[in-house]
Structures are given as structure tokens and as C-alpha cells.
Amino acid sequence: MPDEKPLDIVRLRAWVKGRIERSVPDARIDYCLTCGLCASGCPATGIDGLDPRKFLRLLVLGQDDEILKTNWIYTCTMCQRCRYVCPMGIDVGRIVYEIRGMRPRDERPRNLQRSCDLQKETNSTGIPNEDFVWVVRDVLEEVRQNEPEWADINAPIDKAGAEYYLNQNAKEPTVEPEEMVPLWKILHAAGIDWTYSSKWWDGANYCLFTGDAKDWEMTVRKQAEVVDALGCRYYINTE
């Protein structure tokens, strides 16, 4: 059906809208005043011919096919600035999340889905946990040897009962291991009793971005179990 035709009433099925209203109880889609505050402050405005307001209109007007096929949902970063400025509190980012989840798994951006799938196994880069442990020990040894003033620095792993559990974005041990050192120095200088976990140490979690609630829940549940099993009182996220 050519795009230049007037709105096709037959296509007003709006099942996507119905599904969002069911899964996001406070979606308030019909409250939209079309004021455009969302679009005027959104860096994704104009990209692929869409913006938060137009996106919401497509949804309200039941243009399900357009909504489901546009890759604008991956340009929108779900940053929720639109919600922050919306006088009616409509959260387009939250809606985008739901629509991402409606994509069949094999039609989602491959690397994004892969990062989540790897996270479910070990961490988002997929390096074995043993490698993480090895890298930490290796870098630690280097610091102790090369910087005499930090000879007593530590980077404990799986220390049961440590007060703080710390995570590290998987990119750091994987591609820029020296970026772990400043953290160790700060914690050491502050005299903090902390530990990594060899079972869950990646601070990133891309399962939030695939739109798949089951995957997101599974990964957060797993990390909560790991930290509780260590018996740490505080969980520090570094980013």
C-alpha cells in the first residue's frame, strides 16, 4: 500500500497499542496532547523520519506495521528524556522497550542480542571467567612490582563476607585492563573491604536493551544471588 494514500481506516487494528496498554499499565498513550515537547528535545528527532511524537501517533492511529518494522527503535536510546519533559508523563522510551521485545529474537540486531545471550552464560563479552581471574591477578602483580608505593594493593575475588561487592564493565578486563587499576587504588586508599565475584563480575547488562523481560529478569536474579551468596552488604555499580 503506497505511503502517499490518506490514513487507511481498515488498518486501524491497533493491536500493538492494546498490547502496550496491557503490558505497561501506566502507559497513558491517549493522554498525549501532541504538544511536541518530547520531539523538540530529542536527539533522535528527524532520524529515519521519526521522532517521539510521530512514533506515538503511529501507535495511537494503529499503524502497527510501521511501528513494528522501523529501526528507529534502535536509534531511540530509551533515555527517557521525553518522559522527563512530557506534561502528561508519557514514557515513549518504555514503549520502545516493549516494541523491541515484540521483534522475533532472530530479527533483532545481532550484536545486541549476542551481548545479552553471552551475559546469560557468563558476561557480555563472553570471555571465560577464568580469564577474568587471570587478568586481574596478572595486572595486580604488575602494579605491585612496578609501583612500589602500591606494593600492598589488593584485588580480592570471591572473598566471602566482604563489605562491598564490586563489578567491572567487561570491556575493561577484556580490552583495557589498565583501567581496573585506578579503582583498586581508590578502594585501597579509602580502606574499603571489597571483592569481585568470579561468577558475576560484568557491570554491563545488555539484556535490558533487547526488550526481552525474561532475559533481563534472569540476569538480574542471577547477579543478586551471586552477591547474596558472597554475603556482601553493599553492591557497587561502577557506571
Binding site: P109, P182, T210, Y235, T238
Partner: protein, 167 residues
């Protein structure tokens, strides 16, 4: 990132015995308590700093309180006079364009077009250093700086804390 865990624990009602914290708030707390001793005397040349407010930590996470902690730490570390504010800022700041999995999704042209807003905003500050506490922001802000020709250094916060550390 912060929000994935914070909101995940909340939305799925996951029971846990720990308290979930951002390291930014802890840096600020430890500096305020005198537990972490820093000063800005190293910054003799008056290197100018600005910050990125990560959406997932600030607007979607702990709000303006953590954005204020971030500024407090940067000012302690780099010197009050060497901090330049971005506009808009804190909870009202723009996303860098790398968040939400955009760096993994593969639509690089769109991502950079999105990042143009962040680039212009940061360029306007004239800062030499952009502090990015989030790894995603770090990668994206470094990329748009290279792509559009920014000339600033994109760095994590921890490097500068160590630089300013007094033991």
C-alpha cells in the same frame, strides 16, 4: 549499567539482602568523610573539565543528587574554577546516543547523527576533558569527538581521582 540492576530488582521484585549503590555517590561520600583525600594542586595549568550525566545513572537512576555528587567529585579533583557546566544538565541532560544498546545495534550512521547534539553541547563548553562515568557514554563521546573533530579528552572519572589522591 546502574539502571539495569536497579530497575531490574524493582520491576521483577527480586529479593536481595544487599544495598545497591553507585560508585559516584561513594566517591563523594568518602571525600566528604575525609576517607579519600584528594586535592587539585596537580592541575597547575588549569585544565578545564566538564561532565556527561549518564541517563541510566542520573535521569533514570538516582536523579539530580548523584549528578551533584559527580560535580562535587570533579571540582574536588580538578579545582572548583576548572569545572564548566553543560547546558542542559543533570536530569535534563541529553543522552549521548550510545545508550540503550545503540553501540551494539549497528546503525552507526544514525548513532552519530544522534550524537551530533551531544557533540555541539560539549564543544560549546570549550572543556579540555569530558568526564564520562559510564562505559557506553565513554565509547560514544570518544567516537563523536573523533568523528566531528572535538579535540577534547574523553576519560573515566577514576583516573583523575587517582591523580589527585593524597595518601
Amino acid at each position: 549499567m546502574f539502571y539495569a540492576t536497579l530497575e531490574g530488582l524493582r520491576r521483577f521484585n527480586i529479593s536481595h539482602r544487599f544495598e545497591f549503590l553507585s560508585i559516584i555517590s561513594l566517591y563523594a561520600k568518602w571525600i566528604r568523610e575525609g576517607r579519600l583525600k584528594v586535592d587539585s594542586s596537580w592541575n597547575k595549568d588549569g585544565l578545564k573539565f566538564t561532565v556527561q550525566d549518564p541517563c541510566k545513572l542520573v535521569r533514570q537512576g538516582l536523579g539530580d543528587a548523584v549528578a551533584d555528587d559527580l560535580r562535587f567529585v570533579v571540582k574536588q579533583v580538578a579545582g572548583e574554577a576548572n569545572f564548566i557546566e553543560v547546558w542542559p544538565n543533570r536530569s535534563n541532560n541529553y543522552c549521548c546516543g550510545g545508550g540503550g544498546g545503540a553501540l551494539q545495534s549497528g546503525f552507526a550512521k544514525n548513532r552519530r547523527e544522534y550524537g551530533k547534539v551531544k557533540f555541539e553541547q560539549l564543544k560549546k563548553t570549550g572543556a579540555d576533558v569530558v568526564i564520562t562515568p559510564c562505559h557506553n557514554c565513554h565509547t560514544q563521546i570518544k567516537d563523536i569527538c573523533d568523528f566531528y573533530g572535538g579535540g577534547w579528552q574523553t576519560t573515566h572519572l577514576w583516573n583523575w581521582i587517582v591523580r589527585a589522591l593524597k595518601r
